[in-house]
């Protein structure tokens, strides 16, 4: 049980860190680097400024390192020059030694050969000795100059001895000269040799010191350069780590946040310590999710109220349909009785009808049928409005439709003394549509034509144009004024009240006709000249497409 808990805790921690590698996670949580990252994030400066500052610090370190290196190189050059000079001085000292040896050699030669010419050679070597000594003296230290003074003192003594030897050779006093040579000159030469050796030793000591100083300086320079390079690299790594994680952490949080938001969680918020661009971005993201959440709430509320409205509308629509069905039945049942009894009376089912009752019975029947027509119109329009009117599509012959209208209206035409003609081409193909509704439309138009015509004729004609059936109902009636022409298909519209009084009607027939034609995918239009007559057309597809 405990193991499970620990495992799940570890999982939580891992998922909380959003897939950070274990190393980075350790650095951020267990070392001061984490708080440093937080501190950098809280610095109120742009990421650009932070990066620039880090870059400048690292650059400064590299410049310092370069300065130290240059200084070291300059020092080394100086030391090697000094070394070179020291070598030169040693060489000169050796030349002194050499010149001294040659002097001794020539002096010995002069004594041996008893030759004055050798004395001149001694003098030449002496000059060279003095020259080298002078050059050596100029570059020497105080200690060396002191030694050189002593050498010069001894050399003067040597030269005196040489002069004496030369004189002795000229005077032929060879034994005396030999004694001089062995005595004075030999001793002086030995002293000079010792002094030169001391000079070389001083120089060697100096060179040793110099060598040690160069080694020390080199070591110091290597250490310094290594320190600067190490510091620069460490600082670069540190700045890189800290600055990049001060940007990456809010970026990861933003990613997590956007993941939650895109998954539909608009309550998600993001908290970052940053006071830079990422801080501003986090604030904007929070505003965004807040706004999305608000919109979501609004949308859900709207959807809920729409659902409720839809349900109540569906209920209302169902109630309306039921009401219509009931109403239709309730109205037709008494109408059936009224018209049925009247018809049976007129048919003499109850015995012969007295002449004086025949007319009122006919009136009852006519008005009953009229009332039925009104009821049918109102119910049809209500059904259309409620969206409960469906077409019953089937094959039909246009001729049958026109014939049934002619048969129904023949007596009315006769009654009004009007010519009533129908014209259907015999070769018309079988049509497909709601024959009952087409009949009703044609009946409405022809009925109106008969009603609004006092004399002349009414004609129904049909023709096929392409795949459209064009029905035409023309009359020579009172016509419709230009103003009223656009409104004849509106509900409860008749040209004017006087017309209603004279010709009757509800004004529903044309609007129902228009609706039925449109349900067939057709159109209806009218042309009229007041006093001349009107012509109504309607066009329906020969074969009506079944609505999807």
């Amino acid at each position: 049980m405990r193991r499970f808990t620990r495992a799940s805790a570890a999982r939580n921690e891992a998922s909380g860190r959003d897939g950070l590698s274990r190393g980075v996670s350790f650095l951020l949580t267990r070392t001061p680097l984490g708080s440093l990252v937080g501190w950098v994030a809280r610095v109120p400066a742009s990421v650009h400024t932070k990066l620039l500052a880090a870059f400048l610090v690292i650059t400064a370190l590299f410049i310092a390192m370069a300065a130290v290196s240059l200084d070291t190189i300059a020092r080394t050059a100086q030391q090697s020059r000094k070394m070179h000079e020291a070598h030169e001085r040693v060489e000169w000292s050796q030349q002194i030694d050499h010149a001294l040896a040659r002097q001794m050699h020539f002096t010995a030669l002069a004594l041996l050969l008893r030759d004055e010419a050798s004395v001149a050679r001694i003098l030449r070597e002496n000059n060279r000795f003095n020259g080298t000594l002078a050059r050596r003296e100029v570059v020497g230290t105080e200690e060396e100059r002191d030694l050189i003074q002593q050498i010069r003192g001894r050399q003067d003594g040597v030269m005196n001895a040489v002069a004496d030897i030369a004189n002795a050779i000229r005077d032929g006093k060879l034994d005396e000269a030999r004694a001089e040579l062995l005595g004075r000159q030999e001793r002086a030469y030995e002293e000079i040799e010792a002094l030169v050796a001391r000079l070389v030793e001083v120089e060697n000591r100096y060179m040793l010191d110099l060598k040690q100083a160069v080694e020390t300086a080199n070591f110091r320079s290597i250490v310094l350069t290594a320190c600067f390079a190490g510091a620069a690299i460490a600082l670069a790594l540190l700045c890189g780590f800290v600055i990049s994680w001060s940007c990456l952490l809010p970026l990861r949080k933003a990613q997590e946040f956007l993941g939650a938001v895109s998954a539909g969680d608009f309550t998600a918020t993001i908290t970052v310590p940053n006071r830079d661009e990422f801080g501003a971005q986090a604030a904007r993201l929070n505003r965004m999710s807040g706004e999305l959440g608000r919109l979501m709430d609004e949308q859900q509320r709207a959807a809920a109220s729409l659902r409720a409205l839809n349900t109540s509308l569906e209920r209302a629509s169902r109630a309306k349909s039921e009401f219509l069905a009931n109403m239709s039945h309730e109205l037709r049942t008494p109408m059936n009785a009224i018209l049925g009894f009247t018809e049976m009376l007129r048919d003499g089912l109850y015995g012969d009808v007295p002449d004086e009752l025949k007319e009122p019975l006919a009136d009852i029947h006519t008005n009953g049928r009229h009332l039925l027509g009104l009821i049918n119109d109102v119910l049809d329009l209500s059904k259309i409005e409620a969206g409960r009117m469906d077409l019953t599509l089937q094959e039909y012959a246009v001729q049958d439709v026109v014939d049934s209208v002619r048969v129904s209206l023949r007596s009315l035409a006769l009654e009004r003394g009007l010519e009533f003609a129908t014209k259907v081409p015999p070769e018309l193909p079988i049509a497909y549509g709601d024959a009952k509704r087409i009949t009703q439309c044609l009946m409405n138009l022809a009925g109106n034509a008969l009603k609004f015509t006092r004399q002349g004729r009414v004609e129904i004609a049909v023709e096929l144009q392409g795949d459209e059936l064009i029905y035409r109902v023309a009359d020579t009636g009172i016509g419709i004024s230009r103003d009223e022409l656009g409104k004849v298909f509106d509900e409860f519209r008749q040209a004017d009240a006087a017309v209603t009084r004279e010709f009757g009607g509800t004004g529903l027939g044309l609007s129902i006709t228009k609706r039925f034609i449109e349900m067939h995918g057709g159109r209806i239009w009218v042309e009229s000249e007041p006093g001349e007559g009107s012509t109504f057309w309607f066009a329906v597809p020969l074969r009506v497409e079944v609505a999807a």
């Binding site: 349909s321 219509l324 069905a325 009931n326 239709s328 039945h329 037709r332 049942t333 008494p334 109408m335 059936n336 009785a337 018209l339 049925g340 009894f341 018809e343 049976m344 048919d347 089912l349 109850y350 039925l372 059904k383 409960r388 009117m389 469906d390 077409l391 019953t392």
Partner: protein
């Protein structure tokens, strides 16, 4: 051959009266039912030669009664004329689908109804 029996199923007294008076002068025997359930009982009791069936009836609709009768082998071949109220489009199709032999819309002309009844009973 006995006189033909016509069963009229209709809840409205006046409409029943029309048919009653219409058939009075014929040789047909009229029986009347005021709702669907009563109609079913009467048909099982005595098989009529023709049924006039109103659609909107109390307790059980005329179409349900028609279906029930068509489902019973004993009454499956009784001619049924359904009287529709033309309330919603498709009433006729629904009547024919339920098994009606013919339909007539309310308000009907008594003359036409009688002619229709004659057609069915003459075939007998």
């Amino acid at each position: 051959m006995r006189d033909a029996t016509v069963l009229y199923v209709e809840d409205n007294e006046y409409n029943r009266k029309i048919v009653r008076q219409l058939l009075m002068r014929t040789s047909y025997r009229l029986r009347e039912a005021v709702d669907g359930e009563a109609a079913l009982g009467m048909v099982r009791e005595e098989r009529p030669d023709l049924i006039l069936m109103d659609v909107q009836l109390p307790k059980m609709s005329g179409l349900d009664v028609t279906r029930a009768l068509r489902g019973d082998p004993a009454t499956a071949d009784v001619p049924i004329i359904v009287v529709t109220s033309f309330a919603l489009s498709g009433d006729e199709q629904r009547a024919m689908a339920a098994g009606a032999s013919a339909y007539i819309a309310k308000p009907y002309s008594p003359r036409d109804l009688l002619a229709l009844i004659h057609t069915f009973l003459a075939e007998r």
